[in-house]
Amino acid sequence: MATAVEVRNLRAWFGKTEALHGVNIAIQSTHATAVIGPSGCGKSTFIRCLNRMHETNPEARAEGEVKISGVDVYGVPAVEVRRRVGMVFQKPNPFPTMSIYDNVAAGLKLNGTHNRRTLDEVVEHSLEKAALWDEVKDVLKKKSGASLSGGQQQRLCIARALAVKPEVLLMDEPASALDPISTAKIEDLIFELKQSLTIVIVTHNMQQASRVAEFTGFFLMGNLVEFDRTEKIFTNPSDKRTEDYITGRFG
């Protein structure tokens, strides 16, 4: 298995508070990796460091090494990093005044693609990959992104992220605001997407982690306590702290 994301001694701060204390991890290409841990353990900070979103907070800084396919993310412009590493958030955030079409095409246009035929192809392909095409193909330019249901909006955000052909997709609790049917659609989608790209998903739902991810990392107080195959983490973890957390003995 190839490594898609290599992290070495990653430390992150908010002001003087250290949120990550030297994380080392190798995330496998074309697999899903789940990041679990109690609130405030640093899991969202961790994935936000992978595409340099962490530093968008003026109080925040990070140091250490993050390599995407061997390229140090701190050695290239942040915009380039975010094209290669897409992100989907807990609350769907389509551009509310834009049509469905323009939502998906936005990233491409920002990157300088204005050819109509290319845009049409990418929008269709991205919506298909996000399992939304059949539901919106007749209203692409008539309806705004905000007019869709919560689950559709989240898949629209995934389509928007896919349009710029990222190598890695970060998902920060992508289904926590969705009903069970929409959650199942997102989980099925993760299964399809990881055939061709690398997924890192933060989730509070351990059943979800066990359903979608081949690998799982457990974070606690800014440290990566344990990282292993998901079935090992959830049936027989090596570290007592992991076991205590996933069995509900603390948290």
Binding site: P38, M206, Q207, F234, T235, N236, P237, T242, E243, I246, T247, G248, R249, F250, G251
Partner: protein, 225 residues
């Protein structure tokens, strides 16, 4: 997200299966006592108690399945519930072996009492010790004690083989005692199976506590680690 209620329910599950274990242990004790004393009344008690053991098996299974479905247990809690389901089946089988034994005893009571070259009470005492240790290892979550149970099973197998040889020999030399010898052979064999169930329980304890699968001689080093 501490799960206090869930962990109370796991304790309740443990209490329920220990109550069932008590019934299975008592059934074996009564069956052996019935053999020694040639007591039809004790035989009848074992037969009467079988229904209660079967009911307890169903209740423990239902409770365990409810916990699996409703609580989605993980790691050591998941392994505990899986171990309980398997131990439950073994305890029910121990109850069945007790019934098999008293059926043979009832047969023997109708026949003349003869001297047989087998020490059933001594064999039963060793088997009972294995069952007791297996259950103690479960109560204490003690995989080292469970490992002793696995080792003790070889000795029971040896005793059973000796019983087979000496009783076969007896059947040939004293045809008049053949039926009683056959009954005694069957009782020894049922006791040997009880020991096998104790071994299974011990293996399940090791799986629960250490997450190691030591069945069929696999993972001996893990069991000892």
């Amino acid at each position: 997200m501490t799960r206090i209620r869930f962990h109370q329910e796991l304790d309740e599950l443990k209490h329920r299966i220990l109550a069932m274990a008590g019934m299975a242990e008592q059934a074996i004790d009564l069956a052996v006592q019935a053999y020694v004393q040639r007591d039809l009344g004790l035989c009848q008690r074992v037969l009467n108690n079988e229904g209660a053991i079967n009911r307890a098996e169903r209740e423990v299974d239902e409770f365990a399945i409810d916990l699996l479905a409703m609580q989605q247990p993980m790691a050591i809690d998941l392994r505990f519930i899986l171990a309980v389901i398997k131990i439950n089946a073994d305890l029910e089988r121990v109850g069945d072996q007790a019934v098999n034994i008293v059926q043979r005893v009832m047969n023997m009571i109708e026949l003349a009492s003869v001297e047989l070259p087998v020490d059933i009470p001594a064999m039963a005492a060793r088997v009972r010790a294995m069952v007791r240790d297996a259950l103690r290892s479960f109560i204490e979550g003690n995989p080292d004690l469970a490992k002793h149970v696995l080792e003790a099973d070889d000795e029971i197998d040896r005793i059973n083989k000796e019983a087979f040889t000496s009783l076969s020999d007896c059947m040939q030399k004293k045809p008049d005692c053949a039926v009683q010898a056959l009954d005694a052979l069957s009782i020894a064999r049922n006791l040997e199976r009880v020991a096998d169930h104790a071994t299974n329980i011990a293996e399940d304890v090791i799986f629960w506590v250490r997450g190691a699968d030591v069945r069929h001689g696999a993972g001996q080093t893990l069991a000892g680690s």
